[in-house]
Protein backbone atom coordinates (compact mmCIF):
# COMPACT_ATOMS: atom_id res chain seq x y z
CA UNK A 1 0.00 0.00 0.00
CA UNK A 2 2.94 2.34 0.64
CA UNK A 3 3.86 2.07 -3.05
CA UNK A 4 0.34 3.10 -4.12
CA UNK A 5 0.23 5.99 -1.69
CA UNK A 6 3.65 7.17 -2.89
CA UNK A 7 2.49 7.01 -6.49
CA UNK A 8 -0.41 9.39 -5.80
CA UNK A 9 1.59 11.58 -3.45
CA UNK A 10 4.31 12.09 -6.05
CA UNK A 11 1.70 12.75 -8.73
CA UNK A 12 0.02 15.37 -6.57
CA UNK A 13 3.28 17.17 -5.79
CA UNK A 14 5.10 16.83 -9.12
CA UNK A 15 2.51 19.12 -10.68
CA UNK A 16 4.10 21.91 -8.69
CA UNK A 17 7.75 20.88 -8.55
CA UNK A 18 8.42 19.82 -12.15
CA UNK A 19 7.34 23.12 -13.77
CA UNK A 20 9.31 25.00 -11.11
CA UNK A 21 12.46 22.94 -11.76
CA UNK A 22 12.09 23.35 -15.52
CA UNK A 23 11.57 27.10 -15.14
CA UNK A 24 14.60 27.48 -12.90
CA UNK A 25 16.87 25.45 -15.19
CA UNK A 26 15.64 27.35 -18.25
CA UNK A 27 16.32 30.72 -16.64
CA UNK A 28 19.73 29.44 -15.49
CA UNK A 29 20.60 28.53 -19.10
CA UNK A 30 19.43 31.95 -20.26
CA UNK A 31 21.52 33.56 -17.53
CA UNK A 32 24.64 31.65 -18.52
CA UNK A 33 24.47 33.31 -21.96
CA UNK A 34 23.42 36.80 -20.96
CA UNK A 35 25.95 37.15 -18.16
CA UNK A 36 28.73 37.27 -20.74
CA UNK A 37 26.93 39.82 -22.92
CA UNK A 38 26.65 43.60 -22.45
CA UNK A 39 22.87 43.64 -22.57
CA UNK A 40 22.49 45.20 -19.14
CA UNK A 41 18.69 45.44 -19.10
CA UNK A 42 18.26 41.83 -20.17
CA UNK A 43 20.92 40.75 -17.68
CA UNK A 44 19.03 42.55 -14.93
CA UNK A 45 15.72 40.92 -15.82
CA UNK A 46 17.22 37.44 -16.02
CA UNK A 47 19.05 37.86 -12.72
CA UNK A 48 15.85 39.10 -11.08
CA UNK A 49 13.95 36.07 -12.41
CA UNK A 50 16.69 33.74 -11.23
CA UNK A 51 16.65 35.15 -7.71
CA UNK A 52 12.84 35.00 -7.57
CA UNK A 53 12.81 31.38 -8.73
CA UNK A 54 15.46 30.48 -6.17
CA UNK A 55 13.29 31.97 -3.48
CA UNK A 56 10.28 30.10 -4.85
CA UNK A 57 12.24 26.84 -4.82
CA UNK A 58 12.99 27.12 -1.11
CA UNK A 59 9.54 28.39 -0.13
CA UNK A 60 7.64 25.82 -2.21
CA UNK A 61 9.74 22.93 -0.90
CA UNK A 62 9.04 23.86 2.71
CA UNK A 63 5.42 24.95 2.24
CA UNK A 64 4.43 21.82 0.35
CA UNK A 65 6.01 19.64 3.01
CA UNK A 66 3.67 21.23 5.56
CA UNK A 67 0.66 21.63 3.31
CA UNK A 68 0.55 18.06 2.00
CA UNK A 69 0.25 16.76 5.55
CA UNK A 70 -2.16 19.43 6.76
CA UNK A 71 -4.51 19.65 3.79
CA UNK A 72 -4.42 16.08 2.55
CA UNK A 73 -4.75 14.45 5.97
CA UNK A 74 -6.22 16.91 8.46
CA UNK A 75 -8.67 18.89 6.30
CA UNK A 76 -11.49 17.68 3.99
CA UNK A 77 -9.27 15.35 1.95
CA UNK A 78 -8.60 13.48 5.18
CA UNK A 79 -12.12 12.06 4.91
CA UNK A 80 -10.86 10.10 1.93
CA UNK A 81 -7.33 9.33 3.13
CA UNK A 82 -8.35 8.05 6.57
CA UNK A 83 -11.06 5.80 5.15
CA UNK A 84 -8.61 4.01 2.87
CA UNK A 85 -7.72 0.54 4.15
CA UNK A 86 -4.16 1.54 5.08
CA UNK A 87 -2.46 1.92 8.43
CA UNK A 88 -1.86 5.44 9.72
CA UNK A 89 1.90 4.77 9.82
CA UNK A 90 1.83 4.08 6.09
CA UNK A 91 0.13 7.42 5.47
CA UNK A 92 2.75 9.27 7.51
CA UNK A 93 5.57 7.35 5.82
CA UNK A 94 4.25 8.24 2.36
CA UNK A 95 4.28 11.94 3.25
CA UNK A 96 7.75 11.73 4.80
CA UNK A 97 9.36 9.85 1.91
CA UNK A 98 7.87 12.26 -0.63
CA UNK A 99 9.01 15.30 1.37
CA UNK A 100 12.57 13.90 1.54
CA UNK A 101 12.56 13.06 -2.16
CA UNK A 102 11.57 16.58 -3.23
CA UNK A 103 14.00 18.19 -0.80
CA UNK A 104 16.88 16.20 -2.29
CA UNK A 105 15.76 17.01 -5.83
CA UNK A 106 15.32 20.70 -4.98
CA UNK A 107 18.88 20.78 -3.59
CA UNK A 108 20.26 19.13 -6.72
CA UNK A 109 18.29 21.37 -9.08
CA UNK A 110 19.28 24.44 -7.06
CA UNK A 111 22.97 23.54 -7.20
CA UNK A 112 22.82 22.56 -10.87
CA UNK A 113 21.09 25.77 -11.93
CA UNK A 114 23.63 27.79 -9.93
CA UNK A 115 26.47 26.08 -11.74
CA UNK A 116 24.79 26.53 -15.11
CA UNK A 117 24.06 30.20 -14.53
CA UNK A 118 27.54 30.93 -13.26
CA UNK A 119 29.25 28.77 -15.86
CA UNK A 120 31.19 31.72 -17.25
CA UNK A 121 32.11 33.08 -13.83
CA UNK A 122 33.11 29.89 -12.04
CA UNK A 123 36.35 28.21 -12.89
CA UNK A 124 35.50 24.51 -13.14
CA UNK A 125 39.17 23.62 -12.65
CA UNK A 126 39.12 25.66 -9.47
CA UNK A 127 36.30 23.52 -8.06
CA UNK A 128 38.14 20.35 -9.01
CA UNK A 129 41.29 21.70 -7.31
CA UNK A 130 39.37 22.53 -4.16
CA UNK A 131 37.92 19.02 -4.03
CA UNK A 132 41.30 17.35 -4.52
CA UNK A 133 42.81 19.61 -1.83
CA UNK A 134 40.06 18.59 0.56
CA UNK A 135 40.66 14.91 -0.19
CA UNK A 136 44.38 15.42 0.36
CA UNK A 137 43.74 17.14 3.68
CA UNK A 138 41.60 14.21 4.83
CA UNK A 139 44.30 11.74 3.82
CA UNK A 140 47.18 13.70 5.42
CA UNK A 141 45.43 13.88 8.74
CA UNK A 142 44.27 10.29 8.47
CA UNK A 143 40.62 11.34 8.65
CA UNK A 144 38.47 8.51 7.38
CA UNK A 145 36.01 9.29 4.56
CA UNK A 146 33.53 7.61 6.88
CA UNK A 147 33.66 10.75 9.00
CA UNK A 148 32.40 12.77 6.03
CA UNK A 149 29.67 10.19 5.49
CA UNK A 150 28.81 10.46 9.18
CA UNK A 151 28.51 14.24 8.90
CA UNK A 152 26.14 13.89 5.93
CA UNK A 153 24.10 11.30 7.82
CA UNK A 154 23.70 13.74 10.71
CA UNK A 155 22.42 16.35 8.25
CA UNK A 156 19.94 13.87 6.77
CA UNK A 157 18.77 12.70 10.20
CA UNK A 158 18.28 16.32 11.27
CA UNK A 159 16.13 16.97 8.22
CA UNK A 160 13.97 13.87 8.79
CA UNK A 161 13.59 14.87 12.42
CA UNK A 162 12.53 18.38 11.34
CA UNK A 163 9.85 17.01 8.99
CA UNK A 164 8.49 14.68 11.66
CA UNK A 165 8.46 17.52 14.17
CA UNK A 166 6.26 19.46 11.73
CA UNK A 167 3.93 16.43 11.41
CA UNK A 168 3.76 15.86 15.16
CA UNK A 169 3.01 19.55 15.79
CA UNK A 170 0.17 19.47 13.24
CA UNK A 171 -1.18 16.25 14.75
CA UNK A 172 -1.12 17.74 18.26
CA UNK A 173 -2.72 20.96 16.99
CA UNK A 174 -5.84 19.07 15.85
CA UNK A 175 -6.47 17.44 19.25
CA UNK A 176 -9.92 18.36 20.64
CA UNK A 177 -8.58 20.57 23.42
CA UNK A 178 -6.50 22.69 21.00
CA UNK A 179 -8.51 22.38 17.81
CA UNK A 180 -10.27 25.74 18.05
CA UNK A 181 -7.04 27.31 16.82
CA UNK A 182 -5.45 24.47 14.90
CA UNK A 183 -2.77 26.39 13.02
CA UNK A 184 -1.83 28.62 15.93
CA UNK A 185 -1.62 25.65 18.31
CA UNK A 186 0.53 23.74 15.85
CA UNK A 187 2.95 26.66 15.52
CA UNK A 188 3.15 27.02 19.31
CA UNK A 189 3.79 23.28 19.72
CA UNK A 190 6.48 23.41 17.05
CA UNK A 191 8.30 26.28 18.78
CA UNK A 192 8.14 24.63 22.20
CA UNK A 193 9.34 21.34 20.68
CA UNK A 194 12.26 23.08 18.96
CA UNK A 195 13.40 24.62 22.24
CA UNK A 196 13.05 21.30 24.06
CA UNK A 197 15.01 19.49 21.32
CA UNK A 198 17.86 22.01 21.67
CA UNK A 199 17.95 21.85 25.45
CA UNK A 200 18.02 18.05 25.53
CA UNK A 201 20.77 17.98 22.91
CA UNK A 202 22.84 20.40 24.95
CA UNK A 203 22.39 18.19 28.00
CA UNK A 204 23.31 15.12 25.95
CA UNK A 205 26.55 16.82 24.87
CA UNK A 206 27.38 18.10 28.36
CA UNK A 207 29.28 14.88 29.09
CA UNK A 208 31.81 15.98 26.50
CA UNK A 209 32.49 19.40 28.05
CA UNK A 210 35.62 18.36 30.03
CA UNK A 211 37.33 16.92 26.96
CA UNK A 212 36.43 20.02 24.93
CA UNK A 213 37.83 22.25 27.68
CA UNK A 214 41.04 20.29 27.85
CA UNK A 215 41.40 20.42 24.09
CA UNK A 216 40.70 24.14 23.94
CA UNK A 217 43.12 25.03 26.74
CA UNK A 218 46.04 23.02 25.44
CA UNK A 219 45.43 23.97 21.81
CA UNK A 220 45.66 27.64 22.55
CA UNK A 221 49.42 28.11 22.93
CA UNK A 222 51.56 30.12 20.55
CA UNK A 223 52.89 27.16 18.61
CA UNK A 224 49.45 25.87 17.69
CA UNK A 225 48.27 29.30 16.59
CA UNK A 226 51.33 29.94 14.43
CA UNK A 227 51.81 26.55 12.82
CA UNK A 228 48.45 24.81 13.01
CA UNK A 229 47.54 21.82 15.09
CA UNK A 230 50.16 19.21 15.81
CA UNK A 231 49.39 15.66 14.57
CA UNK A 232 48.49 14.58 18.10
CA UNK A 233 46.14 17.54 18.47
CA UNK A 234 44.57 16.88 15.07
CA UNK A 235 43.73 13.31 15.93
CA UNK A 236 42.30 14.54 19.21
CA UNK A 237 40.10 17.00 17.32
CA UNK A 238 39.01 14.29 14.92
CA UNK A 239 38.13 11.98 17.80
CA UNK A 240 36.07 14.70 19.51
CA UNK A 241 34.25 15.59 16.30
CA UNK A 242 33.49 11.94 15.61
CA UNK A 243 32.07 11.45 19.08
CA UNK A 244 29.94 14.56 18.79
CA UNK A 245 28.61 13.53 15.38
CA UNK A 246 27.69 10.08 16.68
CA UNK A 247 25.80 11.61 19.58
CA UNK A 248 24.01 13.97 17.17
CA UNK A 249 23.14 11.11 14.82
CA UNK A 250 21.76 8.84 17.52
CA UNK A 251 19.90 11.71 19.15
CA UNK A 252 18.25 12.81 15.91
CA UNK A 253 17.33 9.28 14.90
CA UNK A 254 15.84 8.54 18.31
CA UNK A 255 13.85 11.79 18.20
CA UNK A 256 12.67 11.08 14.66
CA UNK A 257 11.50 7.60 15.66
CA UNK A 258 9.70 8.93 18.75
CA UNK A 259 7.99 11.66 16.70
CA UNK A 260 6.98 9.19 14.00
CA UNK A 261 5.31 6.91 16.54
CA UNK A 262 3.78 9.87 18.37
CA UNK A 263 2.23 11.22 15.18
CA UNK A 264 0.94 7.79 14.16
CA UNK A 265 -0.50 7.15 17.60
CA UNK A 266 -2.41 10.44 17.59
CA UNK A 267 -3.77 9.88 14.09
CA UNK A 268 -4.90 6.39 15.07
CA UNK A 269 -6.34 7.04 18.50
CA UNK A 270 -7.08 10.76 18.72
CA UNK A 271 -8.04 11.79 15.22
CA UNK A 272 -10.38 14.76 15.26
CA UNK A 273 -11.32 15.80 11.72
CA UNK A 274 -13.40 18.96 11.49
Amino acid sequence: MLGKLLKYEIQATSRVFLPLYLGLLAVAVAASFTLQSNLDVLKGIIMFLLVMLYGALIVVTVVLLIQRFYRNLLKDEGYLMFTLPVHQATLVASKLVTACLWSILSTIVGAASGMIAGRSLIDINGIADAISQAVEFLAENSISPLLVLLAFSVGAAQFVQFVLQVYLSLAIGQLPSLSKHRVLSSIAVFIVASIAVQIIFTVALSGMVPSFMEFAVTANDGFEIAYGLSPAKTSQAVALTTEMLWIALIYNLALAAAMFFGTTWILKNKLNLE
Binding site: M1, K4, Y8, A12, R15, N72, D76, E77, G78, Y79, L80, F82, T83, L84, P85, V86, H87, P176, K268, N269, K270, L271, N272, L273
Partner: protein, 231 residues
Protein backbone atom coordinates in the same frame (compact mmCIF):
# COMPACT_ATOMS: atom_id res chain seq x y z
CA UNK B 1 -22.53 -10.65 15.38
CA UNK B 2 -23.81 -7.16 14.57
CA UNK B 3 -22.32 -5.33 11.61
CA UNK B 4 -22.31 -2.12 13.65
CA UNK B 5 -22.53 -1.89 17.40
CA UNK B 6 -22.31 1.21 19.59
CA UNK B 7 -21.95 0.65 23.33
CA UNK B 8 -22.64 3.65 25.52
CA UNK B 9 -20.94 5.93 23.09
CA UNK B 10 -20.54 9.55 24.14
CA UNK B 11 -18.87 12.34 22.21
CA UNK B 12 -18.39 15.82 23.61
CA UNK B 13 -17.25 18.87 21.73
CA UNK B 14 -16.06 20.99 24.61
CA UNK B 15 -19.10 21.45 26.82
CA UNK B 16 -21.51 20.36 24.10
CA UNK B 17 -22.68 16.74 24.10
CA UNK B 18 -22.99 15.65 20.48
CA UNK B 19 -23.78 12.06 21.44
CA UNK B 20 -24.93 10.99 24.88
CA UNK B 21 -24.58 7.30 25.83
CA UNK B 22 -25.90 5.95 22.57
CA UNK B 23 -26.48 2.21 22.28
CA UNK B 24 -27.19 0.93 18.82
CA UNK B 25 -27.00 -2.42 17.07
CA UNK B 26 -27.41 -2.94 13.35
CA UNK B 27 -28.11 -6.33 11.84
CA UNK B 28 -26.86 -7.44 8.47
CA UNK B 29 -29.04 -7.03 5.41
CA UNK B 30 -31.08 -4.03 6.53
CA UNK B 31 -31.54 -0.52 5.21
CA UNK B 32 -31.70 1.74 8.22
CA UNK B 33 -32.62 5.40 8.24
CA UNK B 34 -30.70 7.60 10.67
CA UNK B 35 -33.05 10.48 11.14
CA UNK B 36 -32.90 13.63 13.16
CA UNK B 37 -32.84 17.41 12.89
CA UNK B 38 -29.66 19.35 12.20
CA UNK B 39 -27.18 19.00 15.03
CA UNK B 40 -28.74 15.86 16.45
CA UNK B 41 -25.48 13.86 16.17
CA UNK B 42 -25.99 11.95 12.90
CA UNK B 43 -22.72 13.04 11.29
CA UNK B 44 -20.80 12.57 14.54
CA UNK B 45 -22.03 8.98 14.81
CA UNK B 46 -20.96 8.20 11.24
CA UNK B 47 -17.54 9.85 11.72
CA UNK B 48 -16.97 7.81 14.88
CA UNK B 49 -17.81 4.62 12.98
CA UNK B 50 -15.10 5.52 10.46
CA UNK B 51 -12.45 6.40 13.03
CA UNK B 52 -12.37 10.03 11.88
CA UNK B 53 -13.23 11.06 15.43
CA UNK B 54 -12.44 9.31 18.67
CA UNK B 55 -15.23 8.86 21.23
CA UNK B 56 -15.09 10.64 24.58
CA UNK B 57 -16.24 7.39 26.16
CA UNK B 58 -17.83 4.13 25.12
CA UNK B 59 -16.90 2.02 22.15
CA UNK B 60 -17.96 1.36 18.61
CA UNK B 61 -17.34 -1.83 16.68
CA UNK B 62 -17.69 -2.80 13.04
CA UNK B 63 -18.17 -6.53 12.36
CA UNK B 64 -16.76 -7.24 15.80
CA UNK B 65 -13.64 -5.05 15.66
CA UNK B 66 -12.89 -1.40 16.34
CA UNK B 67 -12.55 0.92 13.32
CA UNK B 68 -9.25 0.17 11.56
CA UNK B 69 -7.72 -1.23 8.41
CA UNK B 70 -10.08 -4.20 8.37
CA UNK B 71 -13.26 -2.19 8.92
CA UNK B 72 -12.22 0.27 6.20
CA UNK B 73 -12.04 -2.59 3.72
CA UNK B 74 -15.67 -3.52 4.30
CA UNK B 75 -17.19 -0.09 4.99
CA UNK B 76 -18.11 2.30 2.19
CA UNK B 77 -18.54 5.79 3.63
CA UNK B 78 -20.06 8.84 2.02
CA UNK B 79 -19.21 11.89 4.13
CA UNK B 80 -21.37 14.98 4.14
CA UNK B 81 -18.56 17.07 2.72
CA UNK B 82 -16.49 17.00 -0.44
CA UNK B 83 -13.15 15.30 -0.14
CA UNK B 84 -12.23 15.47 -3.82
CA UNK B 85 -8.93 17.19 -4.51
CA UNK B 86 -8.61 19.79 -7.23
CA UNK B 87 -5.98 18.17 -9.40
CA UNK B 88 -7.53 14.85 -10.45
CA UNK B 89 -9.93 14.16 -13.26
CA UNK B 90 -13.03 12.01 -12.74
CA UNK B 91 -11.28 9.01 -14.30
CA UNK B 92 -8.25 9.51 -11.99
CA UNK B 93 -10.34 9.28 -8.83
CA UNK B 94 -12.03 6.16 -10.26
CA UNK B 95 -8.54 4.66 -10.77
CA UNK B 96 -7.61 5.74 -7.23
CA UNK B 97 -10.58 3.85 -5.76
CA UNK B 98 -9.84 0.81 -7.93
CA UNK B 99 -6.25 0.89 -6.64
CA UNK B 100 -7.11 0.95 -2.96
CA UNK B 101 -10.38 -0.95 -2.62
CA UNK B 102 -10.43 -4.58 -3.69
CA UNK B 103 -14.24 -4.55 -3.70
CA UNK B 104 -14.52 -1.57 -6.07
CA UNK B 105 -16.06 -2.21 -9.49
CA UNK B 106 -14.71 0.13 -12.14
CA UNK B 107 -17.41 -0.99 -14.62
CA UNK B 108 -20.22 -0.14 -12.24
CA UNK B 109 -18.71 3.27 -11.57
CA UNK B 110 -18.31 4.06 -15.26
CA UNK B 111 -21.90 2.94 -15.98
CA UNK B 112 -23.25 5.22 -13.29
CA UNK B 113 -21.09 8.16 -14.39
CA UNK B 114 -22.47 7.79 -17.91
CA UNK B 115 -26.05 7.49 -16.70
CA UNK B 116 -25.73 10.75 -14.78
CA UNK B 117 -23.90 12.47 -17.64
CA UNK B 118 -20.65 13.03 -15.78
CA UNK B 119 -17.73 13.16 -18.24
CA UNK B 120 -14.72 11.09 -17.20
CA UNK B 121 -12.29 13.68 -18.47
CA UNK B 122 -13.75 16.49 -16.38
CA UNK B 123 -11.49 17.94 -13.72
CA UNK B 124 -12.89 17.42 -10.24
CA UNK B 125 -12.34 21.10 -9.47
CA UNK B 126 -14.52 22.12 -12.41
CA UNK B 127 -17.57 20.16 -11.24
CA UNK B 128 -20.47 21.86 -9.52
CA UNK B 129 -21.14 21.06 -5.89
CA UNK B 130 -24.07 18.79 -6.81
CA UNK B 131 -22.01 16.95 -9.40
CA UNK B 132 -19.17 16.45 -6.93
CA UNK B 133 -21.67 14.85 -4.57
CA UNK B 134 -22.88 12.60 -7.36
CA UNK B 135 -19.30 11.50 -8.15
CA UNK B 136 -18.67 10.70 -4.51
CA UNK B 137 -21.86 8.70 -4.20
CA UNK B 138 -21.03 6.75 -7.35
CA UNK B 139 -17.56 5.93 -5.97
CA UNK B 140 -19.13 4.66 -2.76
CA UNK B 141 -21.94 2.68 -4.39
CA UNK B 142 -19.56 1.06 -6.90
CA UNK B 143 -18.03 -0.82 -3.99
CA UNK B 144 -19.37 -4.16 -2.88
CA UNK B 145 -19.17 -3.30 0.77
CA UNK B 146 -20.71 -5.00 3.78
CA UNK B 147 -21.72 -1.74 5.40
CA UNK B 148 -22.59 1.50 3.65
CA UNK B 149 -22.57 4.61 5.82
CA UNK B 150 -24.21 7.35 3.81
CA UNK B 151 -24.33 10.84 5.29
CA UNK B 152 -27.02 12.92 3.55
CA UNK B 153 -26.55 11.25 0.15
CA UNK B 154 -29.39 13.17 -1.45
CA UNK B 155 -29.14 16.48 0.37
CA UNK B 156 -27.52 18.56 -2.36
CA UNK B 157 -28.72 17.04 -5.61
CA UNK B 158 -31.70 17.82 -7.84
CA UNK B 159 -34.91 15.70 -7.55
CA UNK B 160 -34.32 13.84 -10.84
CA UNK B 161 -30.85 12.74 -9.77
CA UNK B 162 -32.29 12.02 -6.32
CA UNK B 163 -34.56 9.34 -7.77
CA UNK B 164 -31.70 7.86 -9.75
CA UNK B 165 -29.50 7.80 -6.67
CA UNK B 166 -32.12 6.11 -4.51
CA UNK B 167 -32.69 3.52 -7.21
CA UNK B 168 -28.94 3.09 -7.55
CA UNK B 169 -28.62 2.46 -3.85
CA UNK B 170 -31.32 -0.20 -3.91
CA UNK B 171 -30.04 -1.78 -7.11
CA UNK B 172 -26.39 -1.93 -6.06
CA UNK B 173 -26.71 -3.32 -2.66
CA UNK B 174 -26.68 -7.03 -2.09
CA UNK B 175 -29.03 -8.72 0.32
CA UNK B 176 -26.32 -9.34 2.89
CA UNK B 177 -25.16 -5.73 3.01
CA UNK B 178 -26.34 -3.11 5.46
CA UNK B 179 -27.02 0.54 4.75
CA UNK B 180 -27.16 3.24 7.39
CA UNK B 181 -28.41 6.37 5.68
CA UNK B 182 -28.70 9.68 7.43
CA UNK B 183 -31.07 12.30 6.09
CA UNK B 184 -33.62 14.91 6.96
CA UNK B 185 -35.35 14.55 3.58
CA UNK B 186 -37.38 11.63 4.79
CA UNK B 187 -40.25 11.68 2.35
CA UNK B 188 -37.98 10.88 -0.61
CA UNK B 189 -36.37 7.82 0.92
CA UNK B 190 -38.90 6.57 3.42
CA UNK B 191 -40.03 3.76 1.12
CA UNK B 192 -36.62 2.05 1.14
CA UNK B 193 -36.12 1.85 4.91
CA UNK B 194 -36.51 -1.41 6.82
CA UNK B 195 -36.09 0.37 10.11
CA UNK B 196 -35.32 3.81 11.43
CA UNK B 197 -33.38 5.41 14.28
CA UNK B 198 -34.50 8.83 15.47
CA UNK B 199 -31.70 10.87 17.01
CA UNK B 200 -32.46 13.95 19.02
CA UNK B 201 -29.88 16.06 20.87
CA UNK B 202 -27.43 13.17 20.92
CA UNK B 203 -29.84 10.56 22.23
CA UNK B 204 -31.91 7.93 20.50
CA UNK B 205 -35.50 9.14 20.67
CA UNK B 206 -37.12 6.24 18.85
CA UNK B 207 -36.00 3.16 17.00
CA UNK B 208 -37.63 0.19 15.31
CA UNK B 209 -38.87 -1.45 12.13
CA UNK B 210 -40.71 0.97 9.86
CA UNK B 211 -43.79 -1.23 9.50
CA UNK B 212 -44.24 -1.54 13.25
CA UNK B 213 -43.84 2.18 13.77
CA UNK B 214 -46.32 3.01 11.01
CA UNK B 215 -48.85 0.60 12.43
CA UNK B 216 -48.39 1.66 16.01
CA UNK B 217 -48.40 5.41 15.41
CA UNK B 218 -50.84 5.35 12.51
CA UNK B 219 -48.81 7.71 10.35
CA UNK B 220 -45.89 7.78 7.93
CA UNK B 221 -42.31 8.18 9.18
CA UNK B 222 -42.21 11.63 7.65
CA UNK B 223 -45.33 12.70 9.53
CA UNK B 224 -44.00 11.16 12.71
CA UNK B 225 -40.69 13.02 12.27
CA UNK B 226 -42.51 16.33 11.93
CA UNK B 227 -44.53 15.46 15.01
CA UNK B 228 -41.59 14.37 17.18
CA UNK B 229 -39.29 17.22 16.19
CA UNK B 230 -41.91 19.95 16.04
CA UNK B 231 -40.32 23.33 16.67
Amino acid sequence: MFILECSNITKNYGACKALDSVNLQLEKGKIVGLLGPNGSGKTTLLKLANGLLSPTSGSISIAGGSPGVHSKKIVAYLPERTYLNEWMKVKDIVAFFADFYANFSREKAIDMLQALGLPQNAKLSSLSKGNKEKVQLILVMAREAELYLLDEPIGGVDPAARDYIINTIIRNYSASATILLSTHLIQDVERIFDSVVFLNKGKIALQGPVDDIREEKGCSIDELFREVFKC
